[in-house]
């Protein structure tokens, strides 16, 4: 399976991303909490650049034991990247659409060879 060079690991800090294009492939690569993830940069909604938007923690409700709403918070575990066109949110670890997990972006394997980061296409 062909591999596309993304970046040197030392030049790709945690929390950052790269957009790479190779032929028909338009791919967003994320470095988040020590792991690398890669997805098709094509929103399932209207085809926007899904991987080029903000990275935001999932918003969660905080409920008291009696089910009353205490407030809202940012998730401790789930982080999404957001399509900048219309706000479709995708789980950075799975590529699943946060609003409907039956939908999922195409995922690419990320390969690390020494200091070099590649995406397999």
């Amino acid at each position: 399976m062909p591999e596309i060079f993304v970046a040197k690991a030392s030049e790709f800090p945690d929390g950052d991303r790269r957009i790479i294009q190779h032929g028909a492939h338009d791919i967003g690569v994320f470095h988040w909490e020590g792991q690398f993830y890669a997805y098709a940069n094509l929103c399932l909604h209207q085809g926007g650049p899904a991987c080029e938007g903000l990275i935001m923690h999932q918003v969660e409700n905080v409920l008291a034991p009696d089910k009353t709403l205490v407030g809202q918070k940012s998730s401790d575990t789930q982080v999404n990247f957001v399509c900048p066109w219309h706000g479709y949110e995708y789980d950075i670890k799975t590529g699943e659409c946060a609003a409907d997990r039956r939908l999922r972006l195409r995922k690419y394997n990320v390969v690390r060879r020494g200091e070099d980061i590649y995406v397999a296409i």
Binding site: Q46, G47, G53, L54, P84, G87
Partner: protein, 406 residues
């Protein structure tokens, strides 16, 4: 450079923003789908008039209101105090990044900002002609001072005509009517009749005026005589008491953008305005499409039992509704596409529906939302994307594609 606040107190610095680059995927769609082969008319798009507010205010006829507005727009206040404000989070907390980033977008050198930025997204999407409307002014009908709405409407329309419509023939507009003042609305129709780039007249729906009141009849007559359409442009108003029960912008937007048009359409039809102005073409903007089967069924059902209340009607309310025109955005994309197909059939979409993007607002639709529909034939797609608007607005085309689809 702009620094965006993100979740968990993170920050993101952005150095530049260009609508054309942000819409590069739209340009790819335009090429893949062959938009160079037919005209695309976008009947509802927007600019942000507050970005040019000082230019607009130079056209204010009332010197006292002008000074008040200029002062309200000075410093960092951006018109607050003069424009009716409204709580709202159109940008989804900045997730629709063009909202916070457009402040660093630069126009092409020597080109007026609104013209430059509009051309940029039109070319990316393959749109040949765009009907341009303001943004915050969609709530100007809530201004408690009628004279302020009138003064700003006159200033805005004159600025729009001289600085935008006369500069770029691909940009058109339907002239804002200061509808809280019927006489001023009438004067506006007379003043802009036949002027370059004027494709009709527009009432912002967020207001509390009954469209069937006798004071408006001469306004409708004047527009009917011109043969141009009258549009109702939807909006939201979180300040309204019923909307105040909702705690989320999604709720207010989902219902608000339909609610006012539902009220106006009900008054329009049941008071027999289509019978009184049979040649007046009416266009309903930015309420999507799902409300229409509801309105048709609801009004038809009640009319059959209470027709004595509507002596002016000569056919069912729904039959008037399907004679009117509709802008497509925000077109609901249901999980069950047969619902959308049924809606298209119900409203005679092949002749009555006109593509609209609403760009750059957060819920914009690309032409592909129409072009990719599996139940439409090529001719219907092209009519909805452009042909129907060419007829409605009497746009003279020589078949030349104006957008640069590369």
């Amino acid at each position: 450079m702009v620094e965006l606040p993100l979740s968990n107190d993170r920050r993101m610095k952005v150095d530049e923003f260009d609508s054309g680059k942000m819409l590069s995927h739209a340009a790819r769609q335009a090429k893949q789908r062959g938009y160079d082969k037919f005209p695309i008319v976008d009947v509802d798009s927007h600019h942000y008039e507050l970005e040019s507010f000082n230019e607009i205010l130079e056209y204010m006829p009332d010197p006292v209101l002008k000074q008040l507005a200029l002062m309200a727009n000075s410093g960092n206040s951006k018109g607050a105090g003069f424009m009716p404000g409204s709580v709202g989070y159109q940008d989804i907390g900045g997730r629709a990044t063009r909202y916070p980033l457009r402040q660093i977008e630069k126009p092409d050198p020597g080109v007026q900002r609104d013209v430059s930025l509009t051309r940029r997204w039109m070319n990316a999407m393959g749109v040949d002609i765009a009907v341009l409307f303001p943004s915050p002014m969609l709530q100007l009908g809530l201004h408690p001072q009628v004279e302020a709405e009138v003064a700003l409407a006159f200033a805005y329309n004159k600025w729009l005509y001289e600085r935008v419509l006369c500069e770029e023939p691909r940009i058109r507009s339907m002239i804002y009517l200061p509808f809280n003042d019927p006489e001023a609305s009438y004067r506006m129709v007379k003043e802009y009749a036949g002027k370059k780039g004027v494709s009709g007249f527009m009432i912002t729906s967020v207001r509390f005026q009954p469209v069937h009141h006798n004071q408006y009849m001469k306004v409708y007559s004047a527009i009917e005589e011109l043969g141009l359409p009258l549009a109702f442009h939807a909006g939201y108003n979180w300040g309204e008491q019923s909307m105040g029960m909702m705690n989320k912008f999604i709720s207010v937007h989902a219902l608000g953008f339909v609610w006012y048009n539902m009220v106006h359409m009900t008054n329009w039809v049941l008071n027999a305005l289509p019978e009184r102005f049979p040649k007046l073409k009416v266009l309903w903007i930015e309420s999507g499409l799902a409300w229409l089967p509801f309105m048709i069924q609801r009004l038809d059902n009640e009319y059959m039992m209470r027709s004595s209340e509507c002596p002016g009607l000569k056919k069912l309310p729904g039959e008037y509704i399907t004679d009117m025109f509709y802008a497509s955005q925000p077109m609901e994309m249901p999980r069950d596409m047969s619902l959308l197909e049924a809606t298209f059939k119900c409203i005679k979409a092949e002749s009555q529906l006109l593509y609209s993007s609403d760009y750059p607002h957060w819920d914009f639709d690309l032409p592909s939302t129409i072009y990719d529909l599996p139940f439409l034939k090529e001719k219907a797609k092209r009519d909805i994307l452009g042909g129907n608007a060419v007829k409605l607005f009497k746009i003279e085309t020589n078949g030349e594609k104006l957008a640069k689809v590369a």
